[in-house]
């Protein structure tokens, strides 16, 4: 008997999700029945990829498939006998048979018959369902819940009954878990139950409204988006240094709580940096959530391109629901997406800096705004006090330029980081150092000179978009320290480098002479030697590596260019072909914590033959602005000129002093965010198709563009299209995919499985969903609602379909094991984060504080010790911080959190659109024994003793409710009380230590409430542990 049932079940499962559809309609549907066969078994050689194409035949294009080929037809519509396709799929002749044996693809008999019948019926083609925009197939739905209309109709057609409504307390918990990810308290359940007595429907929708207003709503729903957005708190790869990206995580929580329209949600995340809105800029951190390789000796460009691939993959899964990654290396084999089209989309994302900017709190932002407007007002006053100011600035510029040292920029033929840990790169006449953030090291450049006399060398530190806060340094502030600047020469007759004596170093700005700031100190500053010094330019040439030139102007105004000039002790006259080596030592870094290097990221080196060269007495930024013709100066140039000119005017001293005082009040930003930033014209990148996706094999130029199969991009402005246009295109209402993909993901979060099971792939290989019309209806309705995510969620929760009981009899289970037709409610083990949050909530330990830096959970020493990099920053959260929601647990990519991973939380190496749900013995050990769960069991015990009536009956009732939200049955009560009795006996007899069980320490007594005993605390700790491990506790029922 069971054997027979087995095979029946297998047939159902193997046939996949088409089984009901085929029963429902015997008519062959191209998209549902034929395209998956073609796409899986034929298109590899007869599809979009022209490099793989055989026999000049495309089966994905109707006209080509039906073309007359000298009287032969691959497909002769209505005539299977004359169709080569039919003949070949049924052939056993290895020379004729399709697919050919070497492809290792085999058609089943059913598939062969389907193909034949389809040809016989006229071989009608239609577009894959997901590439046509969704429409509402029914317009008659107004008052009833649309989900119920579709589901009940379908169940009626099948002759099935929908399940009974779920019990109210079960439903209450289900709604809490789905909307805020936390279980209700017994009081909240009682409130809800009371409200249902008056009006069940109103009580439910009232609860939904209430919970949607809860700030915890955003926390729960953010987690789903964080998965697909591959959010993590570390950079990945070998170094895997911690990163600060939590401002983006909090942005998501806020956006969801505010019900930001989903189209804006996408636009800001893909191009928020281009919208002139500091909040949207944080949103664009989405693109930067991927991994960053900081291993020694990497070629930066290789991993920058890898990162753009990752962004494409992420957008494909998150927004488009397409596996576009395939087209990275070649034209997609199944979906109509060419290799060129991939790079067309890639081009939109390719042209950015890997930027990092400060993030201010709203209060700080306001304060900053105020200070800036006060400064602007003071600058306006200059016009009153000094009416000729504009002309005087120009005069000043002319004078300074006339007096200026004439520099000639070196054109080095060799630029190296000694030891090769970094690979500096040329960008026009500047040099860019990215990659491994080593905390000490030496850079040098070697240039060939023509015959000349050299009197001095200038080092410029220049701003660059790839550096934190534009640089010019690579530390977390964007500043740098140069420990030593050395010059060597090699005359054509010399064999070896000869040092050149230096004198008189000056800089446009130097910090006051001081000890190295705390953040950059290393173990070398804590030993016998004195703390390293930083400050004046003279430290550049004092031949001491423990002193260095640091130009740090202070909060916010530090983000600017700097220059230092060193003179040659005696002018050096060199013949043609002399080589000049300039060596920079950058040894003022710390121990390798994030951003504690002191590298100069973007620099330029020049020489002069002028006498006694010195740095300008004003900001180098102004010198740079002076080199720009007056009519081409940017606002930034003008600001720099005004700022520096006014300081030369004695009469303006009071204003200058006031401005300086205001600048000192600039707030220190709360945190920073990694984000993309559009490149400046001089750094614009041309995108080329990469041969087989290989970073250093560029082929022809590809212009930004979108795939032809999807909706066209609407021109909204003149000039070339950019990433913002791409973002708007992604979120356009004409997109056949965007709304569907997101509605499906919401569905997946609530029902455990999407209406389209492969929520990351809506392409031709994805099965047509059972409830496509419903998905489409919801998608259109989602857009009509103004892309309100809360609207979609509310529609689902308010449906009877959602509110059904999840119980299943053997029969109802067997007829639809995966609940595809929705004749019962959702039931599944909750996500990793929710499991932990349930334990924290039930025990009363949960700390509801929102946002901020991620917290470090306790991780066993034998896990921590096997990290490649140092982990001393891992300061385990104690006290209330330890019990923050799981959303705030620090996610280190190379050391996935052992608790969350056991329950399938992804480690964010790449975008994850759906979690697999496993059920393993290793996972069982976690809520039994992991320290935070054990602490939760102890806390739950004390809570029960504190809050329930002082007898085991009442406590059992209360504890059970805290864990499961329902009352225990008599059998359950008996089971628990039997356990209690046995435990109490063993505790009383001394077999178990009361203190140790209740507190973890044989010497520490439990802090028991009134009317309870230490033995109660111990016995109830063990019972609480059982309750927190119950299937029902771990599940959404």
């Amino acid at each position: 008997m069971s054997r027979i049932m087995n095979s029946v079940a297998l047939v159902v499962l193997l046939a996949g999700s088409n089984v009901f559809a085929q029963q429902a309609s015997s008519k062959i549907d191209f998209g549902r029945d034929i395209l998956p066969i073609l796409s899986g078994k034929c298109l590899q050689c007869h599809g979009p990829d022209k490099n793989q194409r055989q026999a000049e035949l495309r089966l994905d294009i109707e006209a080509d498939a039906k073309r007359d080929r000298d009287g032969h037809f691959a497909i002769a519509a209505g005539k299977p006998g004359k169709s080569e396709l039919v003949a070949r799929v049924f052939s056993n002749d290895p020379d004729v048979q399709m697919p050919p044996a070497e492809s290792k693809l085999v058609l089943s008999e059913t598939e062969k018959r389907l193909l034949r019948d389809w040809v016989a019926a006229g071989a009608t083609y239609s577009k894959h369902w997901a590439f046509d925009a969704p429409v509402k197939s029914r317009t008659d739905i107004s008052t009833r819940n649309p989900i119920d209309v579709f589901v009940h109709q379908r169940l009626k057609d099948k002759g099935w009954q929908a399940a009974q409504p779920a019990e109210l307390n079960v439903l209450c918990r289900r709604i809490y878990l789905d909307l805020i990810g936390l279980p209700p308290s017994p009081q909240e359940i009682d409130q809800f139950l009371a409200a249902t007595k008056k009006d069940r429907t109103a009580a439910i929708s009232g609860l939904v409204d209430k919970l949607m207003k809860s700030p915890h709503f955003g926390e729960k729903w953010a987690r789903h988006w964080l998965d697909v957005a591959r959010y993590a708190d570390s950079n990945g790869f070998e170094k895997d240094l911690p990163r600060k990206q939590w401002a983006w995580r909090d942005w998501v929580v806020r956006a969801l709580n505010a019900d930001m329209p989903y189209n804006d949600f996408i636009i800001q995340q893909v191009a928020g940096d281009m919208m002139g809105d500091p909040d949207a800029l944080v949103g664009s951190g989405f693109l930067r959530n991927g991994m960053v390789n900081e291993e020694g000796a990497i070629v930066y460009e290789q991993f920058r391109i890898e990162a753009v691939f990752d962004r494409m993959d992420c957008i494909g899964k998150a927004v488009l629901g397409l596996s576009i990654q395939c087209a990275q290396c070649h034209t997609h084999k199944f979906d109509p997406l060419t290799h060129d089209e991939y790079y067309g989309m890639f081009a939109f994302l390719n042209d950015t800096y890997e930027a990092q900017s400060w993030v201010y709190t709203p209060q700080q932002r306001e304060q900053l705004q105020k200070l800036k407007s006060q400064i602007a007002k003071l600058e306006e006053q200059i016009g009153g006090k000094h009416p000729a100011w504009q002309a005087d600035i120009e005069k000043w510029i002319a004078q300074e330029k006339a007096d200026a040292v004439k520099w000639s920029v070196l054109d080095p033929h060799e630029i190296e980081w000694e030891g090769g840990v970094n690979h500096p790169q040329r960008e026009d006449d500047t040099i860019l150092i990215l990659g491994h953030p080593t905390t000490s090291g030496q850079f040098y450049s070697i240039s060939k000179l023509e015959a000349q006399t050299i009197t001095g060398v200038r080092l410029e530190g220049l701003q660059h978009g790839d550096l934190p806060n534009f640089g010019p340094g690579r530390n977390y502030l964007g500043t740098f320290t140069i420990s030593e600047l050395e010059v060597y020469r090699k005359l054509p007759t010399d064999k070896d480098w000869q040092p050149v004596e230096l004198a008189n170093a000056t800089a446009d700005f130097s910090s006051p002479d001081q000890d190295l700031p705390e953040y950059f100190r290393s173990s070398s500053d804590k030993g016998k030697e004195k703390v390293r010094r930083v400050g004046p330019a003279k430290y550049l040439i004092d031949k001491k590596v423990r002193t260095g030139w640091m130009p740090d102007r202070g909060t916010l105004i530090r983000h600017t260019d700097s220059a230092a000039v060193v003179q040659l002790k005696t002018p050096l006259s060199v013949p043609d072909g002399t080589e000049l080596k300039i060596r920079l030592q950058m040894n003022h870094g710390g121990d390798g914590d994030p951003g504690d290097n002191q590298q100069l990221g973007s620099l330029r080196l020049s020489v002069t033959s002028d006498n006694g060269p010195k740095a300008t007495p004003f900001d180098h930024r102004a010198w740079l602005a002076m080199q720009v013709p007056a009519d081409q100066r940017t606002a930034d140039d003008k600001t720099a000129l005004l700022r520096n000119w006014r300081k030369t005017v004695a009469a303006l001293k009071p204003i200058n002093d006031q401005i300086a005082a205001l600048e000192k009040q600039f707030p220190v930003a709360q945190t920073s965010v990694m984000h993309p930033r559009a490149t400046l014209a001089k750094h614009q990148r041309e995108t080329r198709l990469l041969d087989r996706g290989t970073w250093n094999k560029p082929k022809h130029v590809v212009l930004p563009g979108v795939p032809a199969i999807l909706h066209p991009m609407e021109a909204t402005h003149t000039g070339p299209v950019n990433r913002l246009d791409f973002a708007k295109w992604l979120a356009n209402e004409k997109s056949p995919l965007t709304a569907r993909v997101h509605v499906n993901r919401i569905w997946q979060a609530i029902f455990g499985v999407g209406l389209v099971r492969t929520s990351e792939d809506f392409g031709t290989r994805s099965a047509r969903p059972e409830y496509l019309e419903m998905l489409d209806w919801l998608a259109v309705n989602f857009m009509e609602s103004g892309w309100s995510q809360k609207h979609v969620i509310r529609t689902i929760i308010n449906s009877q379909t959602y509110q059904q009981s999840s119980r299943s009899s053997g029969e109802s289970y067997n007829r639809d094991p995966r609940n595809q037709l929705l004749a019962r409610g959702p039931r599944f083990r909750v996500e990793a984060e929710v499991i932990r949050d349930i334990a924290l909530t039930a025990s009363g330990l949960l700390n509801r504080k929102m946002g901020g830096p991620s917290v470090f959970p306790p991780v066993p020493a034998n896990v921590l010790e096997y990290n490649f990099g140092r982990m001393h920053y891992w300061k385990v959260a104690e006290g209330a911080e330890r019990y923050r929601r799981s959303l705030y647990i620090f996610r280190k990519r190379s050391m996935p959190d052992p608790v969350l991973t056991s329950f399938d939380a992804p480690n964010s190496d790449f975008a994850c659109a759906r979690r697999v749900r496993s059920n393993t013995p290793l996972a069982a050990l976690v809520p039994l024994n992991e320290p935070v769960f054990v602490e939760a069991a102890r806390a739950l015990s004390l809570r029960v003793l504190r809050e329930a009536a002082p007898n085991d009956e009442a406590r059992t009732e209360y504890a059970f409710r805290l864990a499961t939200s329902r009352h225990p049955t008599q059998y359950e009560k008996t089971t628990i009380q039997d356990l209690l009795t046995k435990l109490r006996n063993r505790l009383a007899d001394g077999w178990l230590s009361i203190n140790e069980v209740a507190t973890g320490d044989p010497k520490t007594k439990p802090n028991i409430p009134e009317k309870s005993t230490p033995q109660d605390a111990a016995a109830w700790t063990l019972v609480a542990r059982v309750l927190l491990n119950m299937d029902e506790t771990l599940s959404k029922n």
């Binding site: 190496d909 496993s918 089971t975 059982v1026």
Partner: protein, 479 residues
């Protein structure tokens, strides 16, 4: 299953039902079913043999090996000091390499046009086969007749993390399943209580981190499970303080009753699976410590591995644990030993690393052989890439080198006593018989009974393989 004896008939029937439902759940919901079943349909096997995603399964063809121990020597051991004798390199030590050699070559740290550096150690013909091994590997070379030394491995990656990921998953991009995951997915496990794929680490953490043994897009159950040399061998294995085994058993009995009531009420097969898993976890609480406890091993065995203290976590101890894991049905054991990145201090560190690993590796081979396990176990020894024949720094370091390096294999289906492939005079390029990482993977899968082109998993609409779209079985190393 230890508790079965205590069960009544009724309970047994319920338990059988639970198992049936569990299996259905695995097939239906956890995403394992269809792919694995597809594998079976190809084989036209009796499909009902699969009670869980880890139950043993037959591969595509009759396998030569059923188990793997992969000794991953992370950091990139120098083939020029260990495996690949280069007299010409010794002769030309201190000279610049020929210019044509460096065309299009990219090294990691050094300027490729750096002086050649002769091998630091002598090579000795070993065994009857006479394959040459370095003098620093006296124990390994004593097993030369069982080993197939491949001297022409090559990989596209030249930085540690991407290269480790490449060697372990066939891709430089993170997120693909590791070899061990693929194998466990394909074959299941023969152990009742232990995971199918176990990881042991010595020295320090690896560059690739947990992704080195990650399951990528395969179900989580195929992830490598680290067993720890210190503390709990399996995370969270020990009961909380104060809970003895009786209290634990009583608690789990109550839990089982409560969960059984839920199963009866709601009928969700996931509950049945959970009931089973709490019982398995309970058994693991006994079996894992028993596994890690070397007190039953003879002094002779401990000595042969070079284990000085049976409780100290060392490479040698991990070698012995690997054998013990295989004995208990684990399919794939991977040892990570991150120690070989000799940019400097080459001579001394290669020696000390050899001292730390040579004996354990060789003893493992001998032990397996003696127990008749080597004939159906593959042992793999190697790192993520090799090292340059050019010097780094003064005269005692080598940079990363991806074009040609060495690994060895031994055991089931492998032809012992041979060196496969040869490098050029400098050990720089492959001269004959290159073996790409994909070829290595294809060959290993072949030995395990798989056609590497058919061991697939559909994700994102694409059928993924360990070998991507590449890989050829290296026939020359098959027994």
């Amino acid at each position: 299953m230890g508790t079965r004896n205590q069960m009544s008939n009724q309970q047994q029937i319920q338990s059988e039902q639970a198992r049936y439902l569990t299996r259905r759940w695995f097939l239906g919901e956890c995403g394992v079913g269809l792919a694995v079943m597809a594998l079976h349909t190809l084989q036209q096997q009796e499909a009902s043999a699969a009670p869980s995603p880890l139950s043993p399964r037959a591969p595509h063809h009759r396998p030569k090996a059923k188990r793997v121990i992969y000794i991953f020597q992370a950091g990139a051991p120098s083939q020029l000091e260990l495996f690949d004798p280069k007299p010409e390199l010794a002769k030309r030590s201190g000279q610049l390499p020929p210019a044509e050699l460096l065309k299009g070559y990219r090294s990691a740290f050094i300027n490729p046009n750096s002086n050649l550096l002769g091998p630091k150690y002598r090579f000795i013909p070993s065994g009857q086969s006479g394959v040459e091994y370095s003098e620093v590997l006296p124990q390994t070379s004593s097993m030369a007749d069982d080993i197939c030394l491949i001297r022409t491995i090559n990989t596209p990656a030249v930085n540690h993390a991407p290269a480790q990921i490449m060697m372990n998953s066939g891709s430089q991009q993170f997120g693909r399943p590791s070899f061990g995951s693929w194998m466990t997915y394909g074959l299941g496990s023969e152990g009742d209580d232990l995971p199918g794929y176990v990881v042991l680490t010595s020295a320090r953490g690896t560059s690739g981190g947990a992704s080195n043994y990650g399951c990528g897009f395969l179900p989580t159950i195929y992830t490598g499970v680290p067993f720890r040399g210190k503390g709990d061998p399996v995370l969270y294995l020990s009961n909380p303080a104060g809970i003895d085994s009786e209290a634990q058993r009583d608690s789990l009995n109550a839990l089982r009753k409560l969960n059984q009531a839920t199963l009866d009420q709601i009928g969700d097969p996931e509950t049945a699976a959970r009931i089973q898993n709490y019982e398995s976890a309970y058994r693991l609480q006994t079996s894992a410590p028993e596994l890690m406890d070397l007190s039953q091993e003879s002094k002779q065995t401990l000595d042969s591995y070079g284990i000085k203290s049976p409780t100290e976590s060392t490479f040698a101890r991990n070698c012995l644990l690997a054998r013990r894991l295989l004995e208990r049905g684990v399919r794939f054991v991977q040892l990570f030993h991150e120690a070989w990145d000799q940019h400097s201090n080459l001579k001394a560190r290669v020696k000390s690393n050899a001292v730390n690993t040579d004996q354990g590796s060789a003893a493992l081979l001998k032990d397996l052989k003696q127990r008749g396990m080597l004939e159906d176990t593959i042992v793999i020894w190697g790192g993520e890439f090799g090292r340059t024949p050019m010097v780094q720094g003064g005269d005692d370091g080598r940079d990363h080198h991806n074009r040609c390096f060495s690994m060895w294999l031994a055991g089931g289906g492998i032809r012992g006593g041979m060196a496969y492939g040869s490098s050029d005079d400098f050990g720089f390029n492959v001269a004959e018989n290159p073996v790409h990482v994909h070829d290595l993977h294809a060959t290993l899968l072949h030995l395990l009974g798989f056609d590497h082109e058919r061991l697939i998993y559909r994700f994102q609409g694409r059928d993924f393989r360990l070998t991507d779209v590449h890989g050829h079985v290296v026939k020359g190393i098959l027994a």
